[in-house]
């Protein structure tokens, strides 16, 4: 037993040659967010508050695809989504289609705490944000020059592109609009457990580059991108459509519960079931285990446990 925390900044085909100017700020961001989470756990904050706090930090960081730095839709707009879940009560909140809310994760928390519903989207969610007095800004706040360029590239290549992608060569253009293989992926998330075994999970994203307006991914869907119960908390990242189909986050908990295996085994099994290149996740169990498996080239990730273990990594896991 003991507290534990893990967070991610997206899994995907992150090239080993990722230039330092793209790698270092993300590593620094992960370190900063991990420290924020550790301090909060040491101060005995509830994991639900900890994951919200950490995801807010990740959203505010322009190098990750959530909040400021979100990728753009086919119309050049931002549509953000987020989800939060408490393990013991299984209470949860989710939002989609946000264009002005600075911290989508905090609106998800408000939906959980202040409405009879779980999930609000688009205009209704925006109206609720105003009613609750959450910080809102002009949609241009979220749009970074890097993401305008990324959208331009994606549209030239006439395809939907997932975050962190290298410039795409024209010759890989596909007739089929569907994405597979070479893309890289966004999203941020955090899971935490305290000494009493309270668990929580939170995930937030801008979605896919050049996504259709109105597209909803796995992030806000309970059981797909985000899930927590009395056994574990899970936040997934990768190709949304594959994660939805695989009900990835819920399945980690289901395999633990119904097969009686450890968190590590359950998470490894679930990731293995998803076609390679599509998914990564971070998870903690009620007993303080941590695991961060992925079947993509890399995943921006960090974790720490009460016994002093701490890790920040992008590619192959040293803990494997």
């Amino acid at each position: 037993m003991g507290w534990a925390i893990a967070l991610h900044g997206g899994a995907g085909d992150i090239p080993l040659s990722l230039p330092p100017d793209r790698r270092l700020p993300r590593e620094a961001g992960l370190r900063h967010c991990l420290d924020v989470g550790i301090a909060a756990l040491k101060a005995h904050k509830h994991p639900l508050d900890v994951v919200e706090l950490v995801v807010r930090e990740l959203e505010n960081h322009p190098h990750f695809n959530a909040g400021k730095g979100s990728v753009l839709t086919t119309s050049g707009t931002v549509e953000m989504e987020a989800c939060i879940m408490d393990g013991k009560t299984k209470k949860c909140g989710a939002v989609s289609g946000l264009s002005t809310v600075v911290n989508a994760i905090s609106l998800a928390r408000k939906v959980m705490d202040k409405t009879p519903h779980i999930y609000l989207a688009f205009d209704g969610a925006e109206a609720f944000a105003r009613e609750q007095g959450l910080e809102t800004v002009d949609p241009s706040y979220f749009i970074t020059p890097e993401n305008i360029e990324r959208l331009k590239q994606a549209q030239e290549a006439n395809r939907v592109q997932i975050d962190y992608t290298q410039p795409i060569q024209k010759e890989v253009k596909k007739d089929d609009a569907s994405v597979d293989g070479d893309s890289q992926i966004g999203t941020v998330g955090c899971v935490a457990v305290d000494n009493e075994g309270n668990l929580a999970s939170a995930t937030s994203t801008g979605g896919l580059v050049n996504k259709m307006v109105g597209r909803i991914g796995d992030t806000p869907i309970i059981g797909a991108g985000t899930y927590a119960n009395h056994l574990c908390a899970v936040s997934a990242t990768g190709k949304g459509e594959a994660i939805i189909r695989g009900t990835v986050a819920r399945d980690v908990a289901a395999v633990m519960e119904f097969k009686g295996v450890s968190l590590k085994e359950a998470a490894a099994y679930v990731v293995e079931q998803v076609p390679p290149g599509n998914v990564g996740l971070v998870a903690v169990s009620s007993t303080g285990e941590v695991t961060m498996p992925f079947n993509t080239t890399g995943m921006f990730r960090a974790c720490a446990t009460e016994d002093g273990h701490s890790e920040i990594a992008i590619w192959d896991s040293p803990s494997k």
Binding site: V160, V179, G217, I221, R245, T247
Partner: protein, 325 residues
């Protein structure tokens, strides 16, 4: 090889005082939809086509809360949602926030077949509908007089404002709640329109599919998304089974109810009936819901912990049943 099976539902949580005539009307509609599904299965249509066909029929009839006859938002408008899933490759499509699409389930099918995504919502979904050339109608088309009256009652009961997750004290409701202490989704059951329609099918090849469609909750906030479009919650299909749920959306989402049936089959090795019993007994916490399910072996099951669920099922060997209580 296997035998086909089909089940349909028209919502869980039925007012015990619902007039007999209305019950009979519901049973006739369920029977008609079952028969449409049965003849499609006899013509060897794949399961995925059959669930779409049957749910379209349920949407088009104003009786249940989907398509025409959908429950109204607090603003008196209709916002519909639906999802569909094909077991063999677990392909899926979902839509939310539709206001003009005559058959939401067919748009969900097009999201699955014709878009790179799994889920489209609100204006983006409407735009996709226009691009795909599906039938569009004015929002008025979906609004029935019955539902305008129900919305008024719901607003009088004001009960959506209090959170049903917090234990309620029996005496605090408005007049309508006093008549009928039973509640669904925080609404007195006399006002609550049984949510949602759904269909699950396994065809002769053993392919399972599921589809669910709804107008959502009476007096809901605009923008509210329930369980129906959420893969794993309201709808799920895989190699083993197909499941469609109905009831208190938030309880269904928290328990990822549809996937749960499949998960206990897959990971615990239970058969379909055991799995359905298990999730209804153990997985709904305080919530109320019902579900229908078929397995690849041609079994059919339904379970609910509500007062009643509009449902019907049939199997290839000639068994057919339509029930409410």
């Amino acid at each position: 090889m296997g035998a086909w099976a089909i089940a349909v539902h028209g919502g869980a949580g039925v007012d015990p005082n619902l007039p007999k005539e209305r019950q009979e009307e519901a049973k006739r509609l369920l029977t008609r939809c079952l028969n449409i599904g049965i003849s499609a299965l006899r013509s060897n249509l794949p399961a995925i086509d059959v669930v779409e066909l049957v749910v379209r029929e349920l949407e088009t009839d104003p009786l249940f809360n989907s398509g025409r006859g959908s429950a109204l938002t607090e603003n008196g408008t209709v916002e519909m949602e639906a999802s569909i899933m094909d077991g063999p490759k677990r392909r899926c499509g979902a839509v939310s926030g539709l206001t003009t699409v005559k058959n939401p389930v067919s748009l969900a099918r097009l999201v699955m077949d014709k878009s790179p995504h799994s889920y489209l919502a609100f204006s983006g979904a409407e735009e996709f509908a226009r691009n795909q050339g599906v039938e569009l109608v004015d929002n008025e088309y979906f609004i029935t007089e019955d539902n305008v009256g129900m919305l008024k009652l719901a607003k009088e009961a004001n009960s959506i404002l209090f959170d049903y997750r917090i234990p309620t004290i029996g005496t605090c409701g408005a007049g309508a709640a006093m008549d009928s202490p039973l509640q669904m989704n925080g609404l007195p059951i006399s006002v609550y329109a049984p949510e949602t329609v759904g269909c699950v099918v396994v065809d002769k090849e053993g392919r399972c599919a599921a589809a669910t469609s709804t107008g959502g909750l009476m007096n809901k906030m605009t923008g509210r998304i329930g369980d129906s479009p959420l893969i794993g919650s309201g709808t799920y299909a895989c190699d083993l089974c197909g499941v469609s749920c109905t009831g208190e959306g938030e309880a269904i989402i928290r328990s990822t109810l549809a996937r749960e049936v499949a998960a206990v089959m897959e990971y615990k090795g239970l058969n379909l009936h055991e799995a359905v019993d298990y999730v209804i007994k153990n997985r709904l916490d305080e919530g109320k819901a019902g579900l229908i399910a078929v397995s690849k072996n041609g079994e059919v099951a339904c379970g609910f912990n509500t007062t009643g669920m509009f449902r019907g099922c049939a199997t290839e060997d000639g068994f057919m049943e339509v029930g409410v209580w």
